[in-house]
């Protein structure tokens, strides 16, 4: 068989731009003339952003108090030393007194913070049943296996099942304020609504269908989790905020990313306090239920106000400032190198 250079064989590929890789293309080059102005612009923009973010974060005020009772100071120390090993631990309440010398601008947000609590532990995080929490009656009576050992309690299925639900945070706080030292304490209204994601308590979490108009009957045949003092349909007296859609419950079920985390407890924005917390003496009454000392954790209470960029976190501002200045410095370095080697390049080009 003779091989001919001119005859088009059956296996010869097509001579199109695509198959022969001759497609029209753009050849960008990361040269100094493009990157230098880019670096300077980016540096300036980042510096501006960084300054804005930093000042915005600096303007936010935060007030926090560790009420675990470790250091034997404050009234919560007595609660701390009581028999915390029992579950549920004995009821105890303590108070935190503080004064504000000037207005704490609002709206003020109240958080509770836990440290050393690994809500992101894998075994803990999978111990829940989202089907049950979405209100499916079949799942209500047959909780998922991942919930074990909080799946069945005394022969009855647990609703809501799982370790995440079982470890629900159950400290409660009330805030009292008095303007003058001899005036009585007035309760500050805490707005406990809309503290969870809207999609969570409207779509993801639903109560099982009511039986004869009663939520308690809907949960008939189930047991509360072992560590809960009350069953799930009695979490709140407000019928719109009880059962699986209880806001505190939903907030707790959103597992936190890191072992030190905060969760929203309430907003202070009603009535006289909509502009913020005025100056005066304050008292927070804490129902100390949650046993964190067993694992060396801490409980904190945090008052904070929020800006468009969230809470007090200087990181973003500082990071932008640093990166912006780095960009500008590197821009100058590259400019110097470019100018110096530009002369050398010109000489080279002339020699060629």
């Amino acid at each position: 068989m003779t091989w001919s250079a001119t005859a088009r064989g059956a296996h010869q590929p097509d001579n199109t731009a695509f198959t022969q890789q001759r497609l029209p293309a753009w050849h960008p080059l990361l040269s100094a003339s493009i990157t230098l102005p880019l670096f300077f612009c980016a540096g300036l923009a980042f510096l501006g952003l960084g300054l804005g973010l930093y000042y915005s974060s600096n303007a936010i005020q935060e007030l926090e108090y560790d009420y675990t009772g470790d250091a034997d100071e404050g009234s919560c120390a007595t609660c701390a030393t009581e028999d915390q090993g029992r579950a549920p631990p004995p009821r105890c309440s303590c108070s935190w007194y503080f004064t504000l010398s000037e207005l704490f601008p609002g709206p003020v947000y109240l958080y509770y913070e836990l440290t050393g609590f690994y809500q992101n532990n894998r075994r803990y995080g999978v111990s829940r049943d989202d089907a049950q929490l979405s209100g499916l009656p079949s799942a209500l009576h047959h909780p998922a296996n991942e919930c074990a050992p909080y799946q069945y309690s005394a022969g009855l299925p647990v609703a809501p099942c799982g370790a995440v639900a079982n470890s629900l945070f159950n400290d409660t706080f009330t805030l009292w304020h008095r303007r003058q030292p001899d005036a009585p304490y007035v309760e500050v209204p805490l707005d406990r609504s809309a503290i969870a994601w809207w999609t969570d308590y409207h779509i993801k979490f639903r109560n099982p269908p009511l039986v004869n108009g009663s939520l308690a009957l809907a949960f008939k045949g189930t047991a509360p989790p072992p560590n809960w003092p009350v069953p799930v349909y009695e979490l709140s007296s407000d019928p719109n905020n009880t059962g699986f859609v209880n806001q505190d419950f939903v907030v707790w079920m959103r597992t936190a990313a890191l072992p030190t985390f905060r969760k929203l407890y309430a907003r202070i924005r009603q009535g006289n306090y909509s502009a913020g917390l005025p100056s005066g003496a304050y008292r927070v009454d804490i129902a100390y239920n949650y046993p964190v000392r067993a694992f060396g954790g801490h409980k904190l209470l945090v008052f904070s106000n929020i800006s468009w960029m969230g809470g007090k976190n200087p990181f973003l501002g500082i990071a932008y400032l640093v990166v912006g200045s780095l960009c500008i410095v590197m821009g100058f370095v590259m400019l110097a190198v470019y100018i110096r080697y530009q002369d050398q390049d010109d000489d080279d080009n002339d020699d060629e």
């Binding site: 890789q21 497609l23 293309a25 050849h27 960008p28 080059l29 990361l30 040269s31 100094a32 980016a42 980042f46 952003l49 947000y109 690994y118 992101n120 532990n121 894998r122 075994r123 803990y124 995080g125 999978v126 989202d130 089907a131 979405s134 998922a144 503290i195 969870a196 994601w197 999609t199 779509i203 993801k204 907030v251 959103r254 597992t255 936190a256 990313a257 890191l258 072992p259 030190t260 985390f261 905060r262 969760k263 929203l264 904070s304 929020i306 800006s307 468009w308 960029m309 969230g310 809470g311 007090k312 976190n313 990181f315 990071a319 990166v323 780095l326 590197m330 190198v337 470019y338 080697y341």
Partner: protein
């Protein structure tokens, strides 16, 4: 009438036929290489023909000598018997045949010599020059005589006018011992090694110290012969040392097995170079099989070489485009593919690893399982796939015009430890930026404007989003050849990621047993700091690479980068003067 054929073999380098003429006389005609015919000749104008043959060889013609002898019928009977016995021998048939041939082909009368002009293939000289400029060492291994081969090498510009030829031939070895010859040669080449720019195993030298070595098969077998005193290793080392400093080596009078032997010798020498063997005849098959890459030229001498090769090309000149263009492109593409794959997976897994320190080492995944599964399949696979199919960092004609660009990738330059460590360092740096950037942003406070807190899935999704965008933009920075396909896959992959995330988290999928990702992505994008954080983290991750690229291009540009920067002006390729056609078996590395 043809009676017998004593077939050709490459060891004795001749063949004979026994014929009966119309008058009934029996003749034996023998033709072969002059070195194998002349010793058997007893009559004829030997000296005249010998000088004529030498003159022809110097001119580059391939010579053959022809001789004959008359056989009387009894002699013929004896010859027949010998051949028959040898042909049907059950053991050592080759040896018995060789002995038989040896006995039959003697006492010949010299008839004359033939000379054939074996023309060089078109553009062979251009190809060899391009290969040498590219830093590839070209060796020619041929079965021809020394004079013929040397003339061919001058013709194809393997030896230039300024090349000083060193001979390691049988003639010189007869005069001095092998040891002395080797020593002398090595002193000659090594004397000038300091002045050459040290570039191991490259044929570069623009100054006059340009050496070419000629060695023939007998000398090579002397060097390779195993000796009792162990000095053969020294001879081999000495020989390789000499070869290293020569810009071209010509091995003539090589038997096919010797060609393979020399390839093996070089393959296992100190630097372990990559060898390529190209040939067109059946005598090249062993060397093609031995070398790392064997190329067969589909030529007039049959398709044995092509059948045994890794690649078959129709003409020798195609080797130039094959190595300098296609080879260069494939190397760039493959090395980027390998490095990029390791890099993007380091970026992917290292944040997961870091997260373990913050989740109590409980093997909690940072990202949702859908992201874990689809990262390598859907979000980051197409861009690099299309890059490794389409990338052309410089144009095809530039590569053909400037073979010295090939030196930028010599010695596996892009897959060395140093480059790999740079990529790994970049991956680790990027992973640290992603993870700790998100960590410090999320630490403890809310980032939404309504005070609500994010959970661990939002944290993971933020890290993942930054990561997907960074690794894709890194590839975009590395791409030099943007066709519509590149735009489509790169921006398309990013778009696909966003759309997938929106869909995955936007619907309560009934088949899922968990709904942890519901609304996570959308909620993350609804807060300002998340956008600012993503922008910042992507910038910080890409910054070192951009800096390195720009500074290295400015301060230490490689030849390729210089060519990229120069204005691309179209130039017509110089037509070469050679229109001859022939193949020369060559080995290059």
């Amino acid at each position: 009438e043809l009676l017998e054929v004593l077939s050709f073999d490459s060891v004795r380098r001749r063949m004979s036929v026994i014929v009966r003429s119309t008058a009934g006389e029996i003749y034996l005609f023998c033709k072969g290489a002059d070195s194998s015919i002349f010793p058997r000749v007893i009559e004829g104008k030997v000296d005249q023909i010998r000088s004529r043959v030498e003159r022809n060889a110097v001119e580059g013609l391939r010579t053959l000598c022809v001789a004959y002898k008359r056989l009387i019928p009894e002699e013929y009977e004896g010859v027949c018997g010998l051949l028959q016995a040898a042909k049907v021998a059950l053991q050592d048939r080759e040896k018995k045949l060789a002995e038989a041939y040896e006995q039959i082909e003697k006492d010949l009368i010299l008839l004359g010599a033939t000379a054939v002009e074996d023309r060089l293939q078109e553009k062979a000289a251009d190809t060899i020059e391009a290969l040498q400029k590219a830093g590839i060492k070209v060796w020619v291994l041929t079965g021809d005589k020394m004079e013929t081969a040397a003339a061919t090498c001058y013709a194809c510009r393997l030896f230039r006018r300024g090349t000083q030829l060193l001979e390691l031939t049988t003639k010189r070895i007869e005069e001095q011992s092998l040891h002395d010859v080797l020593f002398e040669l090595s002193k000659t080449v090594l004397r000038c090694s300091g002045s050459l720019t040290r570039d191991h195993f490259s044929g570069l030298s623009t100054d006059m110290h340009d050496y070419g070595l000629i060695i023939d098969g007998a000398a090579l077998s002397l060097i390779m012969k195993p000796r009792e005193d162990g000095s053969s290793a020294n001879y081999r080392e000495l020989f390789l040392d000499i070869c290293r400093n020569c810009s071209a080596v010509l091995c003539c009078r090589m038997a096919p097995l010797q060609k393979a032997q020399i390839v093996k010798l070089i393959k296992f020498s100190k630097e372990h170079p990559i060898t390529l063997a190209i040939g067109d005849g059946a005598n090249d098959v062993s060397m093609i099989l031995e070398a790392h890459v064997g190329i067969g030229v589909i030529g007039k001498e049959g398709r044995q070489a092509a059948r045994n090769s890794d690649y078959a090309i129709p003409k020798f000149k195609h080797l130039k485009k094959m190595l300098l263009v296609h080879g260069h492109f494939y190397y760039i593409r493959i090395s980027e593919l390998v490095q990029y794959f390791f890099y993007k997976n380091v970026c992917f897994i290292f944040p997961q690893f870091l997260y373990q320190f913050f989740c109590g080492f409980s093997q909690q995944t940072l990202y949702d399982t859908a992201y874990l599964t689809l990262y390598n399949i859907s979000f980051t696979s197409l861009p690099i796939l299309l890059y490794s199919l389409m990338e052309q960092h410089v144009g095809v004609d530039v590569l053909k015009r400037d073979p010295s660009l090939y030196r930028d990738i010599a010695k596996n330059a892009l897959l060395r430890w140093r480059v790999f460590i740079y990529w790994t360092f970049l991956g680790v740096f990027d992973a640290l930026v992603f993870f700790f950037g998100a960590y410090f942003m999320f630490e403890n406070t809310t980032v939404t404007s309504n005070g609500q807190m994010f959970g661990n899935w939002t944290f993971g999704t933020l890290v993942f989003t930054v990561m997907v965008f960074t690794v894709t933009l890194k590839l975009a920075l590395d791409t030099h050849y943007w066709t519509w396909i590149n735009h489509f896959v790169i921006w398309g992959s990013l778009l696909f990621y966003v759309v997938f995330s929106l869909l995955w988290g936007g619907i309560i999928w009934p088949f899922l047993s968990y709904q942890r990702m519901y609304y996570v992505f959308i909620h993350m994008l609804s807060c300002g700091p998340a956008w600012l954080g993503i922008l910042l983290l992507i910038t910080v991750s890409l910054l070192p690479d951009i800096l390195k690229k720009v500074l290295c291009r400015q301060l230490w540009p490689t030849a390729t980068e210089r060519t990229q920067a120069r204005n691309q002006c179209l130039s017509v390729e110089q037509p070469t003067v050679f229109m001859l056609s022939q193949t020369s078996s060559g080995l290059s590395f």
